[in-house]
Subunit: 283 residues, 3 copies
């Protein structure tokens, strides 16, 4: 897989460079806890951000943006219409979009929306292990008897235990799936990339996961789903490790993390350690 | 009261330690201005955060969480149903929950909700002096002719002037009340603890009060209301003083404050100066 | 114009001083992406912040506050009623208020509200060049065939190209208009002040524009619209330059920026370089 690694690395470097050169806009419908961090991460990488809640604005930004980010976070009634309508436009236009099913299992509207979104095949699904397992089950792509379910927005499952669910999701969407954990997984259903780095602080600052989704959307403006998801993951792992070396708590970690994203070179992001495995065979 | 002080200090140390060891989840329905800081403060202390707006998700998290935080901040229409329904579940389950009546007096829906919440007896009420006086009056526990009323979310009354109202509230809820001010007051209706420290910056950064409520909810997952409210207050006063020594403005203060919360030891939090008084007799 | 410059500088110094001495409250209805930064900027300058969404609370704060800030940002259904009703009270009371038409063109409700707000003549309109051109056209004060339209919340037009539209808006409202760009423009329809400074980081941190509107509202509690808008602009350009000298990315820039606002003296803000021009004749 040495050759594959080199191709992937070159794709990552190109995505990082192209975002910085072209300042693509990746709009979001995203949750209120971390909405500011999502925008600042997107800006740090060289992208442009725009956040909305209502359906016609979601549709309009789906048309204007290069790729889009839908994060299920803090459900408000307006999401029930805005999210499916926005996803439908994205799907019809063939644009990349990122789904973060955060909070799956928390409530009825959230589940209804997630069911509806299945038809619009997100190019990238990003979540923790429990969320990926639960989404694969909700979409009837895989039964996950082994999942213990999320606790609020926290995972109770390991990345490895969700790898098959991730591959199943990616094969269904013809896109990519990224799972955050101690070692992060990105898969397109055929190949699995395990990216290392980051920091324990990333679980002690709110929005590390949400803003990874926003970063993936920025890269998905200029790259294929697998490259976009992996570039975002690699950037976060590199910046997380860099920031951790300077942080004294989650306050300074967050500041240093944004700074590290601003300063990271295409080479540093591509050279963050990752390893490749073949995904299991499709069922 | 030397013996009482030592018991209180030990309870504080135990609460700090237990939160760090057990990572309890304290979900919130809280305002959009400071929602990110509330979550990051909860994570800094070792807890876990999850924020929602809609009723069935509030009820679900009431069941999942160890204790919960309801902050009246930026009222949206969805709060009218979500807050009472969530508080009712918390009350029925006998779980601790924290009410921050911020903005009491600003509008009609806010007042209606606060009236409804009376029946569900918040384990901890946290506010500034004007808010505590106004809540005691709204709940007909005390008339407060001397209150000059809040200005927006700012207090116009002194902590001392609200001490009786706080004690009356605590006796009604069989819980605790915390008032923020130059010297903070925490009372269970019998004992009054006055905690010192903090910094003038805490009034010049948005969310010091809101995030104190979130911190109290985290500690209320593992401790009784009085201990939880006092532990949060002591942690804030210690971290505020520590951060102020390093801050050059409200930007760096906020960063240093989170870092100081992350680093504070159980001993430092318990040893922050506080004094005890007996509360006045119940009317 | 030397004499005029000196008068303007003295007005700026007085506004900065008076805000620090009187802690005026400038409430907001503002977007969720940057709501925290708006509040912290207002506090950094010495003002007080209070954010609401619902109509009766907007009206109440319009009565309580010194001046108010309405930012069209993240439209939610509740804005349709809250914004016009709040603006109407402000107009009836003759209070200064600041309008940020951010996202103009994104959706139907946004446009309806902006049409309604015309009658309530905002004392200060703040936006980027594209937003100012589009608002002048929406309010039928000027046709702007040359505008290429905004991209999401980004400008595609130069400050200079929007100068006439700004002057037309200011003459209509009998207030002031501020355009953010490489060189910022503030005009009252007769005089144009071009303020320099800032930093490229101000376009790479979310909310530099929104929080400028909040700052203008704070100064509009104590000064006329032109002085208020220019004082806020000068403060931002001074603090932006100061912060840029210390920043390593958009994370540290944001922290340093708030700190610099906290520390800036009236003289530093008044002495930030600006030049004056007469506005073109009214049509």
């Amino acid at each position: 897989m040495t050759q594959t690694r080199e191709v992937i690395r070159e794709n990552i470097r190109r995505a990082v460079r192209e975002v910085r050169e072209t300042n693509p806009m990746a709009p979001s419908i995203t949750n209120n806890v971390t909405i500011n961090l999502v925008a600042n991460v997107q800006l740090a990488l060289g992208g442009s951000a725009a956040m909305v809640y209502v359906a016609d604005e979601g549709e309009g930004l789906a048309r204007q943006g290069g790729a889009m980010y839908l994060n299920m976070g803090t459900q408000m009634p307006v999401y029930a219409e805005a999210m499916p309508r926005t996803a439908r436009v994205l799907h019809e236009l063939g644009k990349n979009w990122v789904l973060d099913p955060v909070g799956i299992g928390l409530g009825g509207q959230r589940e209804l929306i997630l069911r509806e979104l299945k038809a619009y095949k997100p190019s990238i699904v990003r979540g923790n292990a429990s969320e990926i397992l639960m989404l694969a089950e909700l979409w009837e792509l895989q039964t996950c008897p082994e999942s213990t379910g999320a606790r609020g927005t926290d995972t109770r499952d390991s990345v490895r235990s969700a790898a098959e669910a991730a591959a199943a999701l990616a094969r269904y969407t013809h896109g990519a799936v990224a799972i955050s954990g101690e070692e992060d997984l990105v898969t397109d259903g055929a190949l699995m990339a395990f990216s290392r780095g980051g920091s324990r602080w990333m679980t002690q600052v709110t929005g590390a996961g949400c803003s990874l989704g926003g970063a993936a959307a920025v890269y998905a403006c200029v790259a294929d789903p697998f490259t976009a998801a992996l570039t975002a993951t690699q950037a976060f792992n590199f910046a997380g490790r860099t920031a951790a070396a300077r942080a004294r708590g989650n306050g300074s970690f967050c500041v240093e993390f944004l700074d590290a994203l601003c300063q990271a070179t295409p080479e540093e992001i591509a050279d963050n350690p990752f390893r490749l495995e073949a995904a299991g065979p499709a069922e």
